[in-house]
Symmetry: C2
Subunit: 161 residues, 2 copies
């Protein structure tokens, strides 16, 4: 723990602005996708990730890592999306503990149908408002922040708590 307790004025201002931006943005995208695709942003991201993957399928753990969520959260999400018919589970041939999530044709069609609206929401909220330099800066800053944070799921690694 750093001995310096407080943030500077600049850091405080940045932190507040960042919190507000991310809170509003998440909310905005969740509503847009809930309205147009009937699912929250994270669920859409799962389908979208699978749609870009060879075989449109992935192991549960791999998908959880890419999406930066816990396996538990993914299990619940997959159960819901499976109920919608947008993906299905298959058991993994090489590891009998494992499951492979497969994007169905209906799920793929759903991504194709809703992607333009979502991309548009992202672009109009962010990239239409930033210069190319700012876009590059945001990318670099995001990479730096993400790099310092391990992914969650400490629930499955009890000896680390």
């Amino acid at each position: 723990m750093n001995t310096m307790t407080w943030l500077t004025e600049d850091q405080q201002a940045t932190w507040r602005a960042f919190l507000h931006a991310t809170t509003l943005l998440e909310d905005h995208l969740d509503r847009q996708l809930q309205r147009d695709a009937g699912m929250p942003h994270m669920y859409y991201a799962l389908l979208s990730t699978l749609s870009e993957t060879p075989g449109r399928s992935m192991r549960m753990t791999e998908l959880a890592e890419r999406a930066k969520i816990t396996r538990s959260r993914l299990s619940h999400a997959v159960a819901r999306l499976e109920g919608n018919g947008w993906l299905r589970r298959e058991s993994c041939p090489s590891d009998r503990r494992g499951q492979v999530v497969v994007l169905t044709d209906a799920g793929y069609d759903e991504v194709v149908r809703t992607a333009p609206g979502h991309v548009d929401a992202v672009r109009s909220a962010i990239f239409d408002r930033l210069t190319p330099e700012q876009t590059a800066q945001l990318g670099e800053i995001s990479r730096i922040i993400a790099e310092g944070l391990h992914r969650p799921d400490r629930a499955d690694l009890p000896w680390l708590r």
Copy 2:
């Protein structure tokens, strides 16, 4: 809706990095505060906001706007925090529909007790890793993004849906 459907490569890379950073960061802070203060980040932010306010109190609507959340969400949060004894409701003298949320002494003590750990988590995740220039850039970019997004609570403005 913009006619341009997709993002550029740079924009895509930035968007993915941003999503990963914000997902990991939120999760990190939620866990830190859940562990050390027994509440999620948003709840802590409510107490913290009140602690800096004259009278350590605020109208519900004002607090919801500052925190960028809906009134409904705030109602539930306040109910929970009131149960913890960290704040209480008082009826507003000037508007009989209104409620004033007041941070209790116990709530103030809780903020004082847990603030250093939280600030430290924020600093070590973000500001220790960014240059002063990047901090300024992040602040400016966040302000631009937030500016373009109206606050939620369209649920209370049905004619806008």
